[in-house]
Each structure stands twice: as structure tokens, then as C-alpha cells.
Amino acid sequence: MATLSHTLAANGLLTAFTFVGLVMWFSNAVSKYLTFGRIHGSAIGILIGLALAFWAGLVTGGQKGLADLPVLGGIGLMGGSMLRDFAIVATAFEVDVAHVRRAGVIGAVAIALGTLLPFLVGVGAALAFGYRDAVSLTTIGAGAITYIVGPVTGAALGANSAVMALSIATGVLKAILVMIGTPLVAGAIGLNNPRSAMVFGGLMGTVSGVSGGLAATDRRLVPYGSLTATFHTGVGCLVAPSILYLAVRALTQS
């Protein structure tokens, strides 16, 4: 047993490939035989991943889900930002340039709205729960944009760590809900073509949420959604600590 766990831990990335392979094989079987193909295998796989991360978080008390278990440390490398970005960029090989050109302007509109709308909802929620100072309101609102915009904004404005934690948690929960919710609402919001995928990426923002949600809906939509989503965090980091903060401060002081 000790030898086995040593071998698995010493070959972390290979253990991760094996583990994720088993999860995917199981999810595809569930998709085919229990839901008769109605729920995508990758959606089930992502849900299993999140459920295991929840379980591992309870067991280890750590912050990185399954990657905190010594034997499954390789999951951290396999699902980390380096390989994630590498694989997302690879999907661009399938992009049809004509579709991107046609959706150019609408994609920019989506990114602008995707920054403003979550911010307003986040600030509204913070107001409803009793926060009144401009720094806390802006930091929580920024967290609703993405979980990177939140802490970047909070750090720039000097927010306290409890508010920062709330801000990050808002962004993470949003990303998780996007992964789970997208396949469920895809039909209702017309998510079946490159243009709506680009609008979706710009509005939802979170790269992990968008890429996971689209993967669970239709793998062919992933490159289009990722293309706009990737600009979202940058735009958020740009406007949240500056223009949006000044607007919130002006409104709270009056």
C-alpha cells in the first residue's frame, strides 16, 4: 500500500491522467445509459469533479480540492492555469475566422455589459446585506465579475481580508454555477451557434466557468466563448478599481 501510494505520488501527472480518464469513462457511461445521452458526459464529469473537490475540501481542510490529497497532487498540475490555457489556445485551431469577424462588435458589447451587470448585482447584494462603505461595495461587486477581478480590486483599494474572502468566494461560486447551469439553460438562451457563444463568453467572463460550461454544452462552441471571455478579466481589472470605484464613492457620499 505504501509502495503503491509512493508510485502514484511520484508520477503525479500520470496518476492525474489515469484518474480523470476513469472519471470521464464513468461519466460517459452514466450519460449514455442513465440519461440516454440527454445530459452531456462532460457535464457529468465536471459535476463529479466539483463534488470530489467538495469532499476533499471537507477531508483535508485545504483550498485546492482533490489536489490537496498527496496521491492526487498531479490534478493540480493537470488542471492548473498552464495546461488549461495551453488547451484553450489549442481549440483556436478549429475557429472559423469568418464567424469571429461577424461577431466582433457584438462581442465587445457583451464584454462591456458582462463587466457592468455583475458589478451592479454584486454591489446590490452587498448593499442588501448591510455594507455601506465604497471600498467594500466595490470589492464585492468586482468579485461578481470574476474571482480574479475581485481580489485585484480589493488589493488596489485596501479592502479588509474578510471582504476580500467574500469577493473571491462570490467569483468562485459564480464560476461553479456557470459550469453547472450553462447546459441546463443553453436551449432557452439560444446557445447553439458561434455568435451566441461569443456573446456568452463576454457576458459570463470567468474563463473557467465559460470553458467548463460550454464544454458541457457543446465542445465545438468552446473556442468562440473562450476568445471573448479571456478579455473579460483584463477589462474588469482595468475599470473596477478605477471608474467603477469612483462612481460608487460618488454615490455613497451623496
Binding site: F17, V20, G21, M24, G45, I48, G49, L50, A53, G57, G65, L66, I75, G79, G80, R84, A87, I88, V89, A90, T91, A92, F93, I106, L117, P118, A125, V149, V152, L166, A169, V172, K174, L177, V178, G181, I189, G190, L191, N193, P194, R195, S196, V199, L203, M204, S208, G212, D218, R219, R220, S226, L227, T228, T230, F231, T233, G234, C237, L238
Partner: protein, 137 residues
């Protein structure tokens, strides 16, 4: 050679990350601005360039295609390392903000993507393309 595809992909990803960091510094932001998006555009440009010169070999396609195919397993590994416990535990303000954002944004996607009139769905595009290649072959 397969490695040329992998190397091309790595060059585009690294270059995109570098340009995204520079863009962030130029704009005075502590973040990477559009690094992955820039990398994707570099890769699209490289594919068109290679295709026009007849250099788009099967090896290059395989090297890039392999990583594109591994995309979903990588997303599952990403999901498996989220801090789900703290996201669910941190209180009602988080849940309210996240669910509110989700509803508003889903509604906005539905509105905006319908504004420009009907567009071809992914299934229709694929059907047309296979039809065209069958006709040509």
C-alpha cells in the same frame, strides 16, 4: 513532425501571455489583459499562414489537435481543484450575488444573441460543411 505542432502551440501561448502582461503593465493593471485571447489569434494567424504556403502538415495538426482534444479532461481536473467548500460556506451575500449575476447574465445572453436575427447553428454549419466536402469529393 508532431513536435512542431506542440512547439507552435507553446510559442503562441507564451507569446500571448507575454503580450498580455505587457498590455497589463501599459494600462497600469495588475493582471494579464487578454493573454489567452491574443495567443488564440496568433495561432489562427499561424494556421492561415502555414495553410497558404502549403506547410500545414499532418504532424502540425496532430500536435495541436491532441491538446485541443485533451481540453475537456483538463477542465474536469480544473473543476476537481476548486475551493467548493469555502464558496458554499461563506454566507448569503455570496450566494445572492452569484445567483443574481447568473440570472441577469443568462437573460442578457438570450437578448443580445437574438438581436441580430437568426444565425446558423453549429449543427447546420457542420451539415453544410460535410455536404460541401462530399459534393467536392
Amino acid at each position: 513532425m508532431t513536435i512542431s505542432g506542440v512547439a507552435l502551440l507553446a510559442i503562441c501561448t507564451l507569446l500571448g501571455g507575454l503580450l498580455g502582461d505587457w498590455l497589463g503593465i501599459a494600462l497600469g493593471v495588475k493582471a494579464n489583459v487578454g493573454g489567452v485571447g491574443i495567443a488564440m489569434m496568433l495561432l489562427i494567424a499561424a494556421r492561415l499562414w502555414l495553410f497558404r504556403r502549403g506547410l500545414l502538415s499532418e504532424g502540425v495538426r496532430q500536435g495541436v489537435g491532441f491538446w485541443g482534444a485533451l481540453y475537456i479532461p483538463i477542465v474536469i481536473a480544473m473543476a476537481a481543484q476548486q475551493n467548493v467548500v469555502s464558496a458554499l460556506k461563506s454566507g448569503p451575500v455570496v450566494v445572492a450575488a452569484a445567483i443574481g449575476t447568473l440570472i441577469v447574465c443568462f437573460a442578457a445572453v438570450a437578448l443580445i444573441s437574438r438581436m441580430g436575427g437568426p444565425v446558423e447553428t453549429m449543427d447546420e454549419i457542420e451539415a453544410r460543411e460535410t455536404g460541401a466536402s462530399n459534393g467536392a469529393g
